[in-house]
Amino acid sequence: MALKTKISKEDFINIFRKEDDEVLSIGNTKETALKELEKLEIPHKKLEEWRHTSLNKILHHRYRPAEFRSLSKEEVNLFSIPGLDAYRLVFVNGFFITELSNTFDDENKMFILPMHEAKETHKALFEKYFDKSGILASNFFTALNTAYSTNGSFIYFADNFVADKPIHIVNFSDGQSRKTLAQYRNLIIAGKFSKAHIVNTYHSLSLNYTLNNVATEIFVQDGAHLNFNIVQGEGVDAAQLNYTKVIQEDNSNFSMHTTTFCGMLVRNDLKVIQKGSNCETDLNGLYMPDREQHFDNSVFVHHAKSHNNSNQLYKGVIDNKASAVFYGRVLVDRDAQKTNANQLNKNILLTKYAKVNSKPQLEIYADDVACSHGSTTGQIDEEALFYLRARGINRRKAETLLLTAFVSDVIEKIQIEAIKFYVQILVNNRLEGDKKDGQCLMIDECPACD
């Protein structure tokens, strides 16, 4: 049952009163985070970056800290991705499930470890990077995460190391019949000239009001190539606030693909700081909200030095009474000469109730740059639809063909073949979907929709 009044920031902070040894933060980060929390407000619509996303849906519930729950091999296999051969780390409600995970601990190659372990066994490295992207003060929820996050993935690639297969981080949410808040964190460091692919998938194990507050810090060092992917398919009453902050050094290449299929309210913040010169950044996203879901992608790329490139391609298909937001900001500093930055957002609204707010934005202070941005929002092309129907293809199938074509270029950007195939199947299920009123794409795999 929803509360009549909104819960306050104090209520949020008081959800957690954990002992220091239970939380991830080190040194005085917890104290710093708590001090920030005193200053920061819960994001609201008067803030430019939150203008089109209201958190009211999540603020009218009283949450308890999400608790540990074990997971059977059979349960996790329901969510396995066909053809994906990867190192796997499994978390439930932010707690690490050792027996279902493959850790890796070799300082000449890589570390794939739960954070709590890395904090002890690789103390110096952990302390060198934890919270060093400045994610703490980004907003109320990143501060809350920094103060009290439960656990997460610590992934490190040694200099010149090329990972032989992708790393798959699997996050499950389970409210266990209560409204719960889980706090989860990733710390990823790609050493000089290393190369790796990571995918982080999110699923629900039950249909509860869950709130997942995720913070990810990524450091891409000189000449490193890192590809990071998120696939979000939590239950219809699950909310997720997912903040990713990326620091790129000289000659580094960072690419990211975010696919959002399901969830009640999903807010993705992605901030990429190109600290070095000659960096490449390729950010892509696909979102397909249905029913009354609301998915928001807020993307910020900061070009601080010269000869940097960035590309953004975000596409959305919005059905029923769902809504979506794309807020893309590219900032080109005065020193960031010879920057190439492109930004494109395209949306298709499937009903007259579906809504999208798209705001591609360029802020340029250098004078020798090539930047472009664009945004389109429309319906399915009636001329094309008629052409297909005139060849005997029924309306539903014709729409599916056109929408599949619409999203094909952004799916094509996914670098891990098995994930690309997986997303294609999920898109197809959704578009063809008579399954349970198109309630959930993970319908075949997801117990949340049984």
């Binding site: 005139a390 293809i393 074509a405």
Partner: protein
């Protein structure tokens, strides 16, 4: 006596309240090719669009019987599956949908309508190959997205290829000759001629007599101001070519 394919009776249609077709009567029998000629704005393209089921046109009066069925009650896809094929004057570019997938989806639904199992991938590819050869379409073209970046001639060839794949009972060619050079025109016309048989019929809409040198019609109709004002044999087309349309206009208005 051959069977009637389509019978159009007193067909009136309008767009945004403006009447374009003002009482068309036309009957095409199996094995016949009818040419419909007329000046610009006479309603030729409207007639083809109404028959294919484009819903921006409103049929205000009249009746169309196709295969003994009331055509106007059918959705565009049902008309196609019953055997109507419209070769578009302006084929639509469909980004990201390959011709192979497009034809596969179309053929599956045609076959389902006839109570047939879908073709196996091998059978489907064999059929594609046969029809490509029949209409002399470049093999590379069908690997591309539907009409995307095609030249005018390629688009029209693609229409004829689709026609060959779907094997309609009545094909309506809406100014298929417009914008084609003589070589492309010959290929398109050859394709159509190879598909002609005693069981199907064609409605060839054109502004010029040129196409009719290659696709020889049995009957020529002149459409003017939403009505068929003159019907004759193929010699009528030559007369129009020679005298232009003013002659018809004067006759009608007299």
């Amino acid at each position: 006596m051959s069977k009637t394919l389509i019978k159009i009776e007193n067909l009136h249609a309008s767009i945004e309240g403006k009447e374009i077709l003002k009482g068309i009567n036309l009957e095409i029998k199996e094995g016949e090719v009818h040419a419909i000629m007329g000046p610009n704005g006479s309603g030729k393209s409207t007639l083809s669009a109404v028959l294919a089921g484009r819903d921006i046109y409103e049929v205000t009066e009249g009746k169309v019987t196709f295969n003994g069925k009331n055509l106007l009650e059918l959705a565009p896809e049902e008309r196609s599956r019953e055997g109507i094929f419209l070769a578009f004057q302006y084929p639509v570019e469909i980004k990201g949908v390959s011709i192979v997938n497009f034809m596969k989806a179309a053929l599956e639904q045609h076959r389902e309508h006839k109570g047939l199992e879908p073709l196996s991938p091998a059978e489907f590819l064999k059929l594609m190959k046969e029809k490509k050869e029949l209409v002399e379409i470049d093999s590379k073209l069908t690997n591309r997205a539907v009409n995307e970046g095609f030249s005018g001639g390629e688009k029209k060839k693609n229409e004829v290829f689709q026609m060959a794949m779907l094997d309609p009972k009545l094909a309506i060619l809406d100014e298929t000759d417009s914008g084609l050079d003589i070589d492309a025109l010959r290929i398109v016309a050859n394709g159509v001629n190879k598909l002609r048989n005693e069981h199907n019929g064609f409605m060839v809409i054109t502004h010029y007599q040129r196409l009719l040198d290659y696709i020889v019609p049995d009957v020529v109709h002149v459409l003017y101001d939403g009505r068929i004002v003159k019907t004759g044999g193929k010699e009528l087309a030559f007369e129009l070519e020679e005298k232009g349309y003013d002659w018809i206009k004067q006759e009608v208005e007299a």
